[in-house]
Symmetry: D2
Subunit: 132 residues, 4 copies
């Protein structure tokens, strides 16, 4: 769907990250932000909304952090390692927390199961970049 990898390849600058891992992380952040936004909404529509409050808040926070991380990672000019690494650390934390919240409701709500998967994939993509 996205042209993320091609955008990285055609940029006149680069960051030092492995380009394939970087593209995977950007796409994982976009997919996770969408899943979290949709999961917050779906939880809000459930009869048991009162029991899903923590899930909704962790979804909203995770969407915000993933959106910011996707944007920051998409820029290679004037790349700053300290800021990027701190944001990746925050993004991995938000994804881990939200993934754990959603996993608790995965048996009851398919959207929580799908969202937990997206969170775990994004957490791993952030961790891979941080380790690289």
């Amino acid at each position: 769907m996205t042209v993320t990898a091609d955008m990285l390849r055609t940029s006149p600058a680069e960051t030092g990250f492995d380009e394939a891992a970087l593209a995977r992380c950007i796409d994982a952040c976009l997919a996770c932000a969408q899943a979290c936004t949709a999961c917050a909404d779906a939880c809000l529509g459930e009869e048991s909304v009162a029991e899903l409050r923590s899930c909704i808040t962790s979804n909203l926070a995770c969407a915000d952090v993933c959106t910011a991380t996707a944007a920051v990672l998409s820029r290679q000019v004037g790349y700053n390692a300290e800021v990027t690494r701190a944001l990746l650390t925050a993004c991995a934390a938000a994804c881990r927390h939200c993934g754990e919240e959603c996993a608790q409701h995965a048996d009851m709500h398919d959207h929580c199961g799908l969202c937990a998967d997206a969170c775990r994939a994004c957490e791993q993509a952030c961790a891979a970049l941080l380790a690289g």
Copy 2:
């Protein structure tokens, strides 16, 4: 990559939009936001940056509007047609303007060509929803 279609399908609510067209539009908004963010950055890194100012600004505006549109379209609970249609209209306008800007530099810069394609795809996806 994304689980957008599955998130829409597993939601307890719906909007009245054709679900496949809605999923396509959300994914087109995410891809366009990423392409525009990366294209603004790549233009900034070009030697000819001074001639790419309008392209960079239209990229930044288009990324902001596409990000907001992807989020609003991802919510089905308490859906409001007037707000959604006004935002889709703004998104189509931002994509059309940015696509035209980028197309002017596509011969010189591959990132502008790729971004122009992403903008046109998103403009068409917004128009398809508005017409549906």
Copy 3:
């Protein structure tokens, strides 16, 4: 609090909007985005959360649109009137809808009353720019 007016004044470019009205609208968008984000959260914490679903969704949409509008209005280089006006129209619609939703709960919840005021102020600031 913000230095919005000073940032506009010290920019090498301008948009044609009255600069004081533009600064007021940017600040109103920022204040409304914050109020809507906080009101969505406060509604989520109320015992009557199940009755506040539409309020929460309209808060989230309004926050997204106001955040994008504040960013687009903050840029003066390569200003595009058509995109800006379409986005101001969407922002006014989001604020009007959210203000009306919140006003229905203002007697019960002070955060809804405060948020309704922020929405109305932002709707009026957008309308003033569109009329200017």
Copy 4:
């Protein structure tokens, strides 16, 4: 301008942060995001744009992180300390880096001086919350 403090006060939940320091930090994030967005644009409009590339990128990253931080801090229901602290750390890093970049151009460009002040204020507000 904002009603941030009143929104925190009228919420049914709380985070454990000192409420006045929390309101100051949210408002500093909003003001910094606006200043950074406007400074990136003003730098783009300067004749010396080619020398301001790192400043523009650090502005864009700082705006993204501050916007996400303002939103996450505005939510008190289901508050998660680990995610919030990691994001505050990233926000302080982005503000420090951007403030240092902008300070280098403050003699030449008033918008960079104003933006450096907004970055420093936000960095301090984040540090104050982290220390609290």
